[in-house]
Amino acid sequence: MEYISLSYSSLVIAVLFILSAMAISSKYRLGLEKDLAVGSVRAFVQLTAIGYVLQFMFVSGRWYYVVMMLVIMFVAAVKNAVARQSVKLGGMFTTLGISIFVGSSLTIAIVIGVILRIEPWYSPRYLIPLSGTILGNSMTGAALALNRLRADITHRKPEVEAALALGATSGQAIMPMTRDALKTAMLPSISSLMVVGIVHLPGMMAGQIIAGAFPVDAVKYQLMVVYMIAAAVAITSMMVVYLATSLFFTPDHMLKTEALRSNS
C-alpha cells in the first residue's frame, strides 16, 4: 500500500469545502461566515505549527521537549475546562487540574508502560497523540461533570439543605447530584463505545489506515483508545465530583451560598 502525501496546492482545493459551508451560512443568514473564515485560518496555523513542532521533536529525540509539550497540552486542557464552566469559582482551576492530571496520567502510564511497552517511554510518535486523545476526552468529561454538579446543587438546594439538616455530610447530601454528574460525564464515551465502527470510524483509526496500516492493526489501536478514553473519563470525573465538594461546602458542611448565588 502506498501512502499519498498531500501537497499544499492540493490542500487549497479542500478550501472549497469551507467556501461551500460559508455559502450555506450566507444563504440562510446564519452570520457564521466570519467564524468559518477565522476558524479555517486558525486551524491551518495551529495544525501547521504543531506539525513542525512534532517533526522537530521526532528528530531531536529529547525527552524534555516531549514533557514540555505535554505540560502545554495539559494546561490548555485545564484552561479550556475552566472556560467551559457557566459560573467561575475560585479553586476551579486546581480542582479540574488535579482531576485531569490524575485521570489522564494514570491511563497514559498504563497504556505506555504496560500495554504498548514503548521504548523509550517518551517516544513522541506514541506519547503525544495518545496523550492528546486522553487529555481532550478527560477535559470534556471534567467540564461536563463540574457544570452539571454545580447546576444540580443550585437547583436542588432545598433538598441538599434538608439532608444536611438531618445530619448528612456534604458528600452524603449531594450523592444523588454526584451520581447524575458522573453519568453526564461518562455517557458520551459509553455512547461512543456503542457506535464505534458502525456509525463512524474514529480519526485515529482512519488516519492509521490512510497512512498504510492494516485495518485489523488499526482496529486494535482504536479499541485500546476507546477503552482508555472510557477509563480516563471515569477516573477524571470521579476526581472532579470528589474534589468539587470543597468548592461548594465549607469544612463544617455548610453550603457556600455565594458559590450558588452567582448562578444567574
Binding site: A162, A165, L166, G167, M254, T257
Partner: protein, 245 residues
C-alpha cells in the same frame, strides 16, 4: 430537651457587594420545652436565626449556646442530629415515604429494617397512620408532604425543633392541623421549638412566648399573650397593627 441562648450574635451577609447586618447583636434565651414563636417583617432575620442554630450558616460574631455549650465547638453533624429543622417547603427526597423517614437514622448506621415500628409510630404521630410507607413522596399532597417532612425530622429524636415557616405554603385548614401537630409534638416529646411564621394568628396559636425581630434587632421578647394583649414597644404595636410588613 435543651435550652438555647443567643449571646450578642451578629450575622453579616454580602448583598449586592455590600455587607449588611442580617442580625445585629442579638441576645435571647429560649428555655427548654418552650415554643418560641418568632415574628417580624420580611427580611428581619427570623429564618437566619434558625439557620445559625442548625449551623447551616455560621455567626459573624457572638455565641450560640445549646445547654450551655457553644455550638461552634460541637461537630456540626452531631449538632444537626440534635437540632431538627423543618423548612417552608417540605423538600422531601424523590424517594418513598419510608426511605425519607429512615434517611437520618441510616446516616447514623441504624439498619432501616429495624425501624419499621418506629416509622409506624411516627407516621401515626403526624396523623398519617393510614399512609403506605411505600408511596412515593412526590405523589402526596403538599400538606401530607409537610407532615412527612416533620416525621422525617422526628425520626432523629431531636432535642430542639426549628420550624421555618412550615405553614406558609399550606391552605388554612391544613396549616391549622400542622399547628395542632406542633403542639402535640411538644406535649409528647417536650422538646424546645422555635417557630418562625409570618402569620400572627399561627404564632399566637402555637407559641408560649413571642420574639419580635425587626431589621435584625430583637424588639420584644415576652409571654405570647402579654405581647398580643399589648406590646411594650412602638414597633411592637405597629407590627401587631399590620403596619410593618
Amino acid at each position: 430537651m435543651a435550652k438555647i441562648e443567643f449571646l450578642n450574635v451578629t450575622k453579616t451577609r454580602s448583598i449586592d457587594g455590600q455587607m449588611h447586618n442580617v442580625l445585629g447583636d442579638v441576645s435571647v434565651a429560649v428555655q427548654e420545652g418552650t415554643i418560641l414563636a418568632i415574628g417580624g417583617p420580611s427580611g428581619a432575620g427570623k429564618s437566619t436565626m434558625l439557620r445559625l442554630i442548625n449551623r447551616l450558616e455560621s455567626v459573624t460574631s457572638g455565641r450560640i449556646l445549646l445547654d450551655g455549650v457553644d455550638i461552634a465547638t460541637v461537630d456540626p453533624i452531631e449538632l444537626r442530629r440534635k437540632v431538627g429543622m423543618v423548612f417552608q417547603l417540605p423538600s422531601l427526597f424523590p424517594l418513598t415515604v419510608q426511605e425519607n423517614l429512615v434517611y437520618g437514622p441510616k446516616l447514623r448506621g441504624v439498619e432501616p429494617s429495624s425501624l419499621e415500628t418506629k416509622v409506624r409510630e411516627i407516621l401515626g404521630m403526624v396523623d398519617l397512620a393510614d399512609l403506605s410507607p411505600e408511596r412515593m413522596a412526590g405523589e402526596l399532597s403538599v400538606g401530607q408532604q409537610q407532615r412527612v417532612a416533620i416525621a422525617r425530622t422526628l425520626m432523629n429524636e431531636p432535642e430542639v425543633l426549628l420550624m421555618d415557616e412550615p405553614t406558609s405554603a399550606l391552605d388554612p385548614t391544613t396549616a391549622k392541623s400542622i399547628l395542632e401537630l406542633v403542639c402535640d409534638i411538644r406535649s409528647k416529646y417536650g422538646m424546645t421549638v422555635l417557630f418562625v411564621s409570618h402569620s400572627l394568628e399561627h404564632s399566637r396559636l402555637v407559641g408560649d412566648r413571642f420574639l419580635l425581630i425587626v431589621d435584625g434587632k430583637v424588639i420584644e421578647e415576652s409571654d405570647i399573650e402579654a405581647f398580643f394583649g399589648g406590646p411594650s414597644t412602638e414597633l411592637g404595636r405597629k407590627f401587631l397593627a399590620g403596619e410593618l410588613r
